[in-house]
């Protein structure tokens, strides 16, 4: 178990290194942040000076080496545009994004699994058909459009919920959380719903497919023949078996919810990490872009590891060591 986790971590470090190399070179290839950010009145000497002060005049490998050596001591550099440590900027935004992503995931799981189960158990009823039709919409409508429609309907037309922004926060162990206040909750509903929609549809379809398959399995027939009640069949035999793929997908999707809530955060002016990433890409704020993507890769590695561990808990047949 321990050696398995260690091996996974080593793989993770390698992934992080390759990722940093790719992002670094990629941002370098796009252009120079000084070109975008320089004071329009600056003359050639001032432009050259700004470039030199940021070390952008040096060859790429030197810049990368400087980055790598300070990264090993935990310093990922200062944001060009705010003059604050890149990691601090990202971590400052992390609670807002985590809050949004977890709420969205909660919505997706709490609604998605029961709805999918329902659609799988009674595939021909009209309600199942409605659920499936809805999930197709959830899949295919672009997120920014749905977000705008949610704002137009629930905020502008009906006036029920706020359009944009994060509500009031309370500090819990120094972390500002907004879902604990009424104002914060109101601000959270629409963006979380928008973010959840795609995952919700995904979970519905996944659960439905799993359920339909499981219902035809021998163990379900035996259980029924044994006289086990229908609800127990579903709970013990069906649900437990379909949960494995569902947990995998939910885990991976949680990673992408956290890392790439960019569209939702932009539309709802949610001060999270995704919005920071987009702003940073627009001005080629390389330290923030690199640090962000490294943090995201790290998150994915951890989530994947957790999912694997969860497998073992859910399915006694899975032995982690056996994959050697």
């Amino acid at each position: 178990m321990l050696s398995y986790a260690l091996r996974r971590l080593l793989q993770g470090v390698l992934t992080l290194w390759v990722m940093s190399l790719l992002v670094f070179a990629g941002v370098y290839a796009i252009g120079n942040p000084v070109d975008i950010l320089i004071n329009p009145q600056a003359d050639q000497a001032e432009i050259a000076q700004a470039v030199a002060q940021l070390g952008l005049d040096r060859p790429l490998w030197q810049q990368y080496w400087a980055f790598l050596s300070s990264a090993f001591s935990g310093d990922f550099g200062m944001s060009f545009v705010t003059r604050a440590p890149a990691v601090a900027l990202i971590l400052e935004r992390l609670p807002a994004t985590l809050e949004l992503a977890l709420t969205a995931m909660l919505i997706a799981v709490v609604l998605g699994i029961p709805l999918g189960l329902l659609a799988g158990l009674k595939p021909d009823s009209w309600i199942s058909r409605a659920i499936m039709a809805g999930s197709i919409l959830g899949f295919s409508l672009p997120s920014f459009w749905v977000g705008l429609m949610l704002i137009m309907v629930f905020s502008v037309q009906l006036g029920w919920l706020p359009t944009t922004g994060r509500g009031a926060t309370v500090d819990v162990f120094g972390i500002p959380l907004s879902f604990l206040t009424a104002d914060g909750m109101q601000h959270l509903i629409l963006p979380a719903l928008n973010l959840a929609l795609f995952k919700l549809s995904l979970l519905i379809r996944l659960t439905r497919a799993g359920t339909r398959e499981a219902m035809l399995q021998d163990y379900v027939r035996f259980a029924r023949a044994k006289g086990v009640s229908e609800s127990a069949v579903v709970r013990v035999h069906v649900l437990r078996n379909i949960l494995i793929p569902v947990v995998t997908v939910a885990g991976l999707e949680l990673g992408s919810l956290i890392a790439f809530a960019v569209v939702t955060e932009t539309i709802f002016a949610w001060p999270g990490m995704g919005k920071l990433l987009i702003d940073s890409i627009n001005v080629l704020d390389r330290p923030v872009i690199v640090a962000y993507l490294l943090i995201v890769v790290f998150l994915f590695i951890v989530i994947n590891l957790l999912v694997d561990l969860l497998y073992a808990a859910l399915d006694p047949r899975v032995r982690l060591e056996a994959t050697r």
Binding site: I30, R83, S155, P162, A269
Partner: protein, 521 residues
């Protein structure tokens, strides 16, 4: 049941929140640009200056029509060609109650030079200054390195900080509010990076008391969301109304839209230095014998082929004024005698034939797709119009970051740029003067247009400390450069604000949004 009840009450509370008008003395404004730092001397970006100018002030101020007016300096004059004396306003207090003196002014003018590691600092605005000497508490004397008439314009961008608080303070001290102590109409209350800045009225302010006790500046860069927040009543005003929403907002009786011609001129730089510029070929795809853009007749043909009024009305949906000048109407050095080139495709074809390009040629037009109002549509329209007179034009639009990278690598020969300036000579120095790193000229003269006569007039204008004389020279240089089509001017953008119908705002040429200039009607 209980959860259902609480959900309903949540929704009800939300409904009340949005239906209730804001308390009379609160103002909530939606800004379009991301504020990156509250340090007024770190990054010279408009959003940063917008919030900075609520808390801080500068020695010279700019009125809504870009006219220079007194700020923290009551008046100023040039004693000789290189010496300026600024008489400072008396009785001005910083937010902490301490007095504003010439010491603070001298310190603030020097501070931009001490900021290291900024990709776009304020050093450019103080590079002409040799020394800033405190003569007495309320007199500041500035020696310039060379005769320089644009000093009052330049130092308008330098916000005056409190020496006591800003000494040894870095950007983080401003972001935390600790060093954010100015003389301006509003005091720091709370800053949530990437979200909002909350301000409280400074009752010690020397100017006319602002109408609002509390001001919230919210950053909402997504255009439709900003409009939606205004429509839902969460904001009282927004800046940079997207062109697609203007009509709808104007028809809304609860709202009003205020507009002004912005100082931002949209122009096309044309390569005038390479024999065979990239992207320019004959119709057969082979390189041309010489660069057609070096011929004034070809540049004139480009200009005549562009239908500026249609671009302004349709593509820009009214958010543009056809341009013939380097600066907008009313701006220092603008020449009202210059008229936007009329659409004349036949004339363009004739000029091309005269220049030896009766069969036309091919060009690539480059530009950004996320920087200026409807920029990519403008590029596409210009390309079609040029193609119609025989200059087959292909558009290469990219995000500003990637686009500028290409421009700096000199991969473009025909490129769109937007420029805002409150003096023609300053704009000429960057856009049209013969590029010269030693003099600091022409850093944005991508086409490397070079005309000794324009250079000479512009130099004399900038060296002139007599404003009338300077304006006449600047106008002359502007007229000369435009008649020679140093670049192809397209239009001046129109800048818009939308607000509740019971508010009033004087739209500003420089596009700034100031809470203290909003008035209840």
């Amino acid at each position: 049941m209980n959860t259902k009840k609480s959900l309903i009450s949540t929704l009800l509370v939300a409904a009340l929140h949005t239906l209730m008008p804001a308390a009379a003395a609160d103002l909530r404004i939606g800004l379009s640009g991301e504020v990156t730092s509250l340090d007024p001397h770190y990054l010279a970006a408009q959003p940063n200056l917008t919030v900075g100018r609520h808390v801080f002030e500068s020695l010279t101020d700019i009125d809504p029509r870009t006219k220079l007016i007194p700020g923290l300096a009551e008046n100023w004059r040039a004693i000789d060609a290189t010496t300026w004396e600024f008489k400072l306003r008396r009785g001005v207090k910083f937010h902490d109650g301490s007095d504003f003196t010439a010491e603070d002014a001298a310190f603030s003018l020097q501070r931009p030079l001490s900021i290291k590691g900024s990709p776009g600092g304020f050093a450019s605005y103080v590079r002409a200054i040799e020394t800033a000497t405190v003569v007495d508490t309320y007199t500041l004397r500035i020696k310039t390195k060379y005769p320089y008439g644009a000093l009052p314009e330049d130092i308008n961008s330098i916000l005056i900080v409190s020496k006591k608080h800003a000494l040894n303070a870095g950007p983080e001290d401003f972001d935390s509010g600790r060093a954010l102590v100015g003389t301006g109409p509003y005091k720091f209350a709370r800053y949530l990076r990437g979200d909002r800045l909350e301000l409280a009225r400074n009752d010690l302010w020397w100017g006319k008391r602002p109408a609002w006790d509390r001001v919230t500046l919210r950053v909402i860069p997504a255009d439709p969301s900003r409009t939606a927040a205004l429509l839902a009543g969460e904001l009282d005003a927004i800046e940079h109304v997207p062109s697609a929403d203007i009509k709808k907002l104007k028809q809304n009786r609860n709202l009003r839209v205020m507009q002004a011609t912005s100082w931002r001129t949209i122009l096309l730089h044309v390569d005038q230095y390479r024999a065979q510029p990239p992207g320019i070929t004959g119709n057969d795809g082979k390189a041309l014998a010489k660069n057609p853009f070096m011929d004034l007749r070809v540049r004139r043909a480009l200009s005549k082929a562009i239908r500026r009024d249609a671009i302004a009305e349709r593509v820009m949906e009214g958010l543009a004024v056809p341009a013939a000048n380097i600066v907008s109407p009313g701006v220092f050095g603008h020449d009202p005698a210059l008229k936007a080139e009329a659409y004349d495709p036949e004339g363009a074809k004739r000029l091309l034939a005269e220049a030896g390009y009766a069969q036309g040629f091919r060009v690539t037009l480059a530009g950004p797709n996320n920087r200026y109002i409807n920029d990519e549509q403008v590029l596409q329209t210009v390309a079609q119009l040029l193609t119609r007179v025989g200059i087959t034009t292909r558009v290469e639009a990219a995000p500003m970051s990637a686009y500028l990278g290409r421009v700096r690598k000199e991969e473009t020969a025909f490129a769109l740029l937007g420029w805002g300036s409150f003096a023609a000579d300053l704009a000429l120095r960057s856009l049209v003067a013969t590029p010269d790193a030693d003099k600091g000229w022409g850093a944005w003269n991508w086409g490397r247009y070079s005309n000794p006569k324009v250079d000479a007039l512009m130099t004399r204008a900038l060296a002139s400390v007599d404003r009338d004389q300077r304006e006449a020279l600047a106008r002359g240089a502007n007229t000369l450069a435009m008649n020679d089509l140093a670049f192809i001017p397209l239009h001046h953008q129109v800048v818009s604000w939308a607000m509740r119908a019971n508010l009033d705002y004087t739209p500003r040429t420089d596009e700034f949004t100031f809470a203290h200039h909003f008035l209840p009607k």
